[in-house]
Amino acid sequence: MLRYISKRLVSLSASLIVASILIFIVIEIIPGDPAAFMLGINADPDAVEALREQLDLNASLASRYFTWVTGLLQGEFGISYTYRVPVSELIADRIVISLPLTFYALVLSTLIAFPAGIYAASKRNSLGDVSVMGLTQLGVAIPNFWFAMLLVLVFSINLRWFSAGGFPGWDQGFFPAMKALTLPAIALALPQASILARVMRSSLLDTLNEDYIRTARAKGLNRRQALWRHALRNALIPVLTIIGLQFSFLLAGGIIIENVFYLPGLGRLVFQGITQRDLIVVRSVVILLVFAVIAVTFLVDIAYAIADPRLREGSR
């Protein structure tokens, strides 16, 4: 188990290093002179020079990369050019919205998808199965930001159950904050839940065809027992992969959904960064999100090993 974990850790750290180099190249090298790029065409040469100094652009590439990465390791992302404050502060303010939103949506998606998928698989070909599958087919096709707009139209504008957007802040209490995140989380979760439910169903149907299910039935287990005791845990293995991938989709999807609900999260920050050509902000948010995705991949790998003893021992 330890060997497996350390192996995954090494490989994921390698991914992270390569990812950071890629981001560094795209942001720092491709635009030519980032300082001139950030200040625009009509910038005063003195201002450009000052920014170059501030960005440490006169140093060599390798040393700039090294400075950036060592900064990252200490939680220093640099100073935002437009806000004139450390990017770490900007991110700290926003991440308390984006991350809870992502997890909220992930939990919702799983809570909806598991029962739906298990129900559909256990009642295969019944009217219930066909209806659930039809609904998920629709759910997969709906763009989450449009679904978000419909939710606003129905629950905020017409029913007035929720506010149409904005975020009160966590200091106003847990429940008001969660309430503000509820519509965005539902909008994010439903399309993903549809995908997850479909995967859950087909994975469960595959395992129900396995020989060991027949063995379980020959032992005297009834269909339900065979499904819950033997099929489910085996079926979860491919489902875990999808949950891991969904995290990155939800994180990215959150960036868009934040726009619909005017939530001051990382998404808003990064779009402001783009319009103001604040490459330091963009770069920081991107590397942070990539880090989050890789960290979740690692958690999924561990969950894999817990679910599947064949991986744990690393042999064969």
């Binding site: 490989s11 390698a14 991914s15 390569v18 990812a19 890629l22 981001i23 795209v26 942001i27 491709i30 635009p31 790029f37 295969r124 070909n125 009217l127 066909v130 087919q137 629709l138 997969v140 096709a141 709906i142 763009p143 989450n144 930001f145 449009w146 707009m149 419909l150 606003v152 139209l153 504008i157 149907l205 129900l208 065809n209 396995e210 020989d211 299910i213 027949r214 991938l245 990155s248 989709f249 994180l251 990215a252 999807g253 960036i255 868009i256 726009n259 619909v260 990064v270 779009f271 960064g273 783009i274 050509r277 490459l279 963009v282 991107v286 999100l289 990539v290 995705v293 890789i294 991949t297």
Partner: protein, 287 residues
């Protein structure tokens, strides 16, 4: 021979399945047609601003109504279909053209250094959600449809590389592949002659699914302003425009939204139908 292997699909499911394919193919054909027709004819000029006609609900003159600048929604949807389809199509093409050779090559060198590099590269791209990629590209190059194609296309590469590698790996275990090796054929030739034709079905089905995902992704990028730029109409940006007016003119949001849903639904139904038609495992069950 366990319980489910020979279980026949119920009549209900068979009907739904074959009808699903027909409905899906019909919807897809409709939107492809709309995109093609838009090149030679649209009811109105999709960029023609006419403030007098603004925010009209659907009527005989404007079948789908007009937007806040008085532009004809049907014309915008038709031209938008062109953009959506082109972006998604090229992105899938990029994914197949780059991903399939990589996957086949990796499978033929199973376990080797190159296989490892290709697969780790895939993992790396999966760590960048396509939106992040688009954000980075846009931050540097400015927004546009080409960026959307690059961002979605790059994300398609590992999808097809993994799919074709996995399928090819299991085919490499087949005895007819070994027989071909005994005949002295090179791995490249075997990949081309024996493996590629036998994974085409899979690629077609996955291609349809990626195409629909591409349309969703393009709409998302356009919605946040990272896709095609004005004055070219696009479904995603129509939704963005509609957002502030949603309480007074809901059709502005409903029309492009439903268009996206129907297009994606059509493609997915068609993909599922194709899978059933092309998958010999399912066909055996039916016969």
């Amino acid at each position: 021979m366990s319980e489910q292997t020979i279980s026949q699909p119920s009549t209900l499911q068979l009907i739904l399945r074959s009808n699903g394919f027909l409905i899906g193919a019909g919807l897809t054909a409709l939107f492809v047609l709309a995109a093609l027709v838009s090149f030679i004819w649209t009811p109105y000029d999709a960029t023609q601003i006419s403030i007098a006609d603004k925010l009209k609900t659907p009527s005989a003159a404007h079948w789908l109504g007009t937007d806040h600048f008085g532009r004809d929604m049907l014309s915008m949807i038709m031209v938008g279909a062109r953009v959506s389809m082109a972006v998604a199509f090229v992105a899938v093409g990029v994914g197949i053209l780059a991903g399939v050779p990589l996957g086949l090559y990796a499978a033929s060198k199973r376990g080797g250094l190159i296989d490892e590099i290709i697969m780790r590269g895939n993992d790396l791209i999966f760590a960048f959600p396509s939106l992040l990629l688009a954000i980075m590209i846009t931050a540097v190059f400015g927004p546009g449809a080409v960026n959307a194609i690059i961002a979605i296309g790059i994300f398609n590469i590992p999808v097809f590389a993994r799919l074709s590698r996995g399928a090819a790996l299991s085919l490499w275990q087949r005895e007819y592949i070994m027989a071909a090796q005994v005949c002295g054929k090179s791995k490249a030739l075997i990949s081309l002659e024996h493996i590629l034709p036998n994974i085409t079905n899979l690629l077609i089905v996955q291609g349809t699914i990626q195409f629909s995902l591409g349309i969703l992704a393009e709409a998302g990028l356009a919605y946040v302003g990272l896709g095609a730029q004005p004055p070219l109409p696009s479904w995603g940006r129509m939704l963005n425009d509609a957002q502030t007016l949603i309480s007074i003119a809901p059709h502005l949001a409903l029309v492009p939204g439903l268009t996206i849903v129907l297009t994606v639904l059509g493609l997915n139904l068609m993909g599922d139908g194709l899978r059933d038609l092309l998958d010999p495992k399912l066909r055996r069950v039916k016969s």
